[in-house]
């Protein structure tokens, strides 16, 4: 009896998962198709780039600044007496550009941007504002989804680059003020193993994380059901799923393009 019930619930969960994946694939395909409707989304793009990109800079840079400080201090603590201190610069640069710049920014902004989009579109869904758009012959995907996803895709790499620069700068300032290194020593370390590909790798991650955060937020918002509770569920799902996908993508990029 119990086995029967377990198999049934496993089957139902599997069906739900594939149903969800199917729905998400259709939504993503619709979003790509709606990109052809340039006259609808293009006028809204700049506003979304400012809202999702420029307005996210303060939190991203705050996070990057403190990450740079902590990385420098922890590196010096680890290296003391064994490894030359200029490696502090190497560690701060490599860690930020390859990993923490995109991933920490991604996780933080999945909270800010993903939750914001899911809550906004979810509220529009439950208050029939999305239906109202349709009744006035607006394609809601072109009007609401495409400008947000495009803005996330285009602005996220920019935020990541700024975060990398700010973290390295604060790592340098910390090294000078607290570790008594000269700026030249820090920069020597930072340049030591730097490769242009590191930055390209960071930017590729930025593009993919920006896309994932916005498209998941839009999908969850569009599929909100019920009232305030439904909006809450959609918002939570948007943050959790985007966070998980960022980590999966992070591993994927490391395994596929980060080769010697």
């Amino acid at each position: 009896m119990d086995l029967n019930r377990s198999v049934t619930s496993l089957g139902a969960a599997t069906l739900r998962m594939f149903g969800g994946l199917g729905g998400f694939s259709r939504f993503t395909a619709d979003s790509f198709k709606a990109m052809g409707n340039v006259r609808t989304w293009l006028p809204l793009l700049a506003g979304q780039m400012r809202r999702l990109g420029v307005d996210s800079l303060p939190i991203a840079l705050f996070l990057a600044a403190f990450t740079g400080i902590v990385l420098a201090l922890q590196a010096s603590y680890t290296f003391t007496g064994a490894i030359p201190l200029y490696f502090v610069g190497t560690l701060v640069e490599k860690t930020m550009v390859l990993e923490l710049g995109p991933v920490l920014t991604g996780l933080a902004l999945s909270g800010r941007i993903g939750a914001n989009i899911a809550a906004e579109l979810g509220t529009m869904r439950v208050s029939e504002q999305i239906d109202a758009l349709e009744t006035m012959a607006y394609d809601p995907v072109a009007y609401l989804v495409v400008p947000r996803v495009m803005a996330g895709f285009l602005m996220f790499p920019v935020i990541v680059v700024f975060a990398n620069v700010v973290a390295i700068f604060f790592g340098l300032v910390t090294s000078v003020l607290l570790l008594h290194m000269s700026p030249q020593t820090f920069l020597r370390g930072a340049r030591l193993f730097y490769r242009h590909f590191d930055l390209i790798y960071s930017i590729i991650k930025g593009f993919s994380f920006g896309f994932v955060i916005t498209v998941i937020g839009c999908y969850q918002g569009f599929n909100t059901r019920g009232g305030a509770e439904g909006v809450g569920i959609a918002t939570t799902r948007a943050v959790v799923i985007a966070g998980m996908l960022i980590l999966v993508l992070d591993a994927f990029w490391a395994a596929t393009i980060l080769k010697q």
């Binding site: 208050s127 029939e128 504002q129 239906d131 109202a132 009744t135 006035m136 012959a137 394609d139």
Partner: protein, 253 residues
Amino acid sequence: MSIELRDIHKAFGPKRILRGLTLDVEEGETVSLVGFSGAGKSVTLKHINGLLRPDQGTVFVDGLEVPRLDRERLYALRLNIGYVFQFAALFDSMTVAENIEMGLLKKGGLSPAQMKDRIAESLALVDLTGFEHRLPAELSGGQRKRAGLARAIAYRPKYLLYDEPTSGLDPVTTTVIDRLIMRMKQELGVTSLVITHDMKSAYSISDRIAMLYEGRVVEVGTPDEIRNSSNDVVRSFVEGRPDLAHDAETPLP
């Protein structure tokens, strides 16, 4: 120029909401669709402008078969159908004027000055002159409904679909909205389908009233015919007797 709903069936999962609904709305006519809560009145309305597709049956508007229209032609048709939502569904990040402008921009053909005039004219029709720059959050329930109506009529649709336009309003505001619905017919000559469960409103605004029960229209008639109906379901509804109240949430046999 009419609305024809032919044998519409619609289910959401195990819930069979519409089970063979057939209803015609003739040109220039105002028909009220009444029924118990959860009977599928709003679902019916959403089939007319293609927000929902029937599982079975079909819908004709202006001679066009709505479920078979491609996106481009469906959107063109939608600009001839104004939709007044139950809770107005105003875009809350936009002012009243910007809300109204959305439909005008989509329909096109107006200069910015003409658009401004049309917005003022639409707001005057619903007695909201001077409310252009208010946000929806700054309006009362009745004002929101009227702003929603102004948005729906601004682009001069041939058809108006009203989803519970008077629900939750005080009797005075209800009368104001009823008068507006009649004014739309007289001044703009629109064909209207009104969803309501307020019989007083239905009697005063309708040319005909249709009663929806168990997913079908069980009776259609003039207000007098409905008032004097011998159909048990209609009598139960009109007289407010709870004996036949049937929630669509309850699985039907």
